[in-house]
Symmetry: C2
């Protein structure tokens, strides 16, 4: 439980989840939202993935991420209370 909560207790990772509320997002879009380097985004996504909170779908050169359908109730409640973040999508 501490492990999963740790995965979501970071401002940048909460922003990632907020972006994903509406559905699948291409990894490249997150760089502008978080305003951190591409490797930093990659590392944060990895943490959420390893915690089972998001899943990835490779599509050629790109990787698309979405929220896992099944969440622990205490994680779901956190997601529910995040305000959605809107952002400009790349054309992939």
């Amino acid at each position: 439980m501490a492990k999963q909560l740790k995965a979501v207790s970071d401002p940048n990772r909460l922003k990632l989840l907020a972006c994903l509320k509406k559905g699948e997002v291409c990894a490249c879009d997150f760089v502008d939202v978080l305003n951190i380097s591409q490797p930093a985004v990659s590392q944060q996504l990895k943490k959420l993935k390893e915690a089972g909170i998001i899943v990835e779908r490779p599509a050629g050169t790109w990787k698309h991420y979405r929220l896992n359908d099944v969440q622990q109730p205490y994680i779901q409640t956190i997601i529910d209370h995040l305000d959605e973040i809107s952002f400009i999508r790349c054309d992939c």
Copy 2:
């Protein structure tokens, strides 16, 4: 939101909350539950207090802690999903 989640995303602090589910607990009881030093307990309690998740009630030399009546919904859900921890109480 990240700040409050950070406060609860630690095994020892989750144990403190689990102990507090049934009601007020004297600070001294936590040392045996967590099996860490008294100053370490004091520091962890401080973090939960500063996050507004627990409140303290001084009683002479002792300090009693309990869960705050009002919790953010996403914090309340976490507390709800903690298994209670039973422990030996001091005679204070």
